[in-house]
């Protein structure tokens, strides 16, 4: 059950969020020392976020069919499974959309690199870190293969490193890391 009934998102708010997404994506590319060329609309990174924004809009307006069509189109085109339920503020950057699963609530400037995501299996909703889904703060960075699962609060500015799994609350500003792999010489067989 929903803990709180929220006002449906407006088209204007969706456009504001999309503008923030575009701005952040452009800044994200420009920050990198190499080239930044190519049409934004042809990037799966932007397609995934764009389709999700309108899918979420239609879902909240009660047009569940259109929401589902856009969601499925997103899965087909970009490989990102971003549920129409997911409520993500502006500035969402999804770097490699393949194998990304997003369900829950997140703040501004969320970065999801790829193969990562958040949500919860068999969730019975209550978004507010109640029974199923995570609530994530602003400026969170999810690296390759990082997952946040279950009803947890993740604070602002948290960085979750590659292949880490978060199933408990993380305070603001923390870094979550998983143990590194071992490298072994094939002939000697001794672990480093």
């Amino acid at each position: 059950m929903n803990a709180s009934v929220r006002a449906a998102i407006s088209a204007a708010e969706t456009r504001v969020r999309l503008a923030a997404d575009r701005k952040r994506l452009r800044a994200f590319i420009a920050d990198r020392p190499q080239l930044a060329r190519g049409i934004l609309w042809l990037q799966p990174s932007y397609q995934a976020v764009y389709l999700h924004r309108w899918s979420h809009f239609f879902f909240q307006r009660g047009n569940r069919l259109l929401a589902r069509v856009l969601w499925h189109l997103n899965l087909l085109l970009t490989g990102a499974d971003i549920s129409p339920l997911a409520d993500i503020e502006g500035g969402f950057v999804l770097v490699y959309p393949v194998c990304t699963i997003v369900l829950g609530k997140a703040g501004r400037n969320l970065t999801v690199i790829g193969h990562s995501g958040f949500g919860g299996g068999m969730s019975s909703l209550n978004i507010g870190a109640g029974p199923g889904l995570p609530v994530i703060g602003d400026d969170v960075w999810l690296d390759l293969g990082a997952f946040i699962l279950g009803p947890v609060h993740v604070g602002d500015g948290v960085v979750i490193k590659a292949r880490s799994l978060v199933t408990s609350d993380v305070p603001a500003g923390y870094v979550v890391d998983s143990s590194a792999s071992r490298v072994r010489k094939a002939e000697e067989g001794a672990a480093e």
Binding site: I29, P33, Q34, L35, A36, P44, T78, G79, A162, K185
Partner: protein
Amino acid sequence: MSYAFADLKRDLVDDIVGHARHGANFYSERVSVLRKLSILSMPPMLCTLLFRLSHWAWGHGWHGLAWALCHLNQMVHGAALHPASRIGGGLYIPHTVGVIFEGHAGRNLVLFANAVVANGHNHPKAWDGGDGAPRLGDDVTVGAYVVVSGGLQVGNRVRIAPCATLHRDVEDDCMVIGSSRSRIRNPEAGALRHG
């Protein structure tokens, strides 16, 4: 980096030979020629072909075409292979779903399902084939669900075991072992053994 049509042809011939070699592991001694030729229509080969074509277009400076082929590959096979990646002949991707590759590799690269080789702090569009991405040597095998991330150098004949996470350089002839081994247990008899 120019990538002429002759290079494309040479790499594709190597790929087909590699696929035939790997495919031979899956059938007994006598199969029909048609069955042997069917490797050319299998997703691993088509995925490799699309990647080679996109890399060829990229080498000519036709970035739009290169990205279009790359995205087609991603839509059809679920593999995001950056068109600027230089990968030697004999590329083999047995299960294409979820594979991300953004970097350089030598000959006979094997990428298993969900393998990620990228610099996670780059945006794919912000990488033009420079050195800010992983560089793998010859005969490297990347296991399923592996993450190789950062501008690192991996030597020749390195095998990366499933579920490993790699953030640093690796010498030749090494094996990288993931840190997450599953415990296999019988709930009635307690912990039995490590998987």
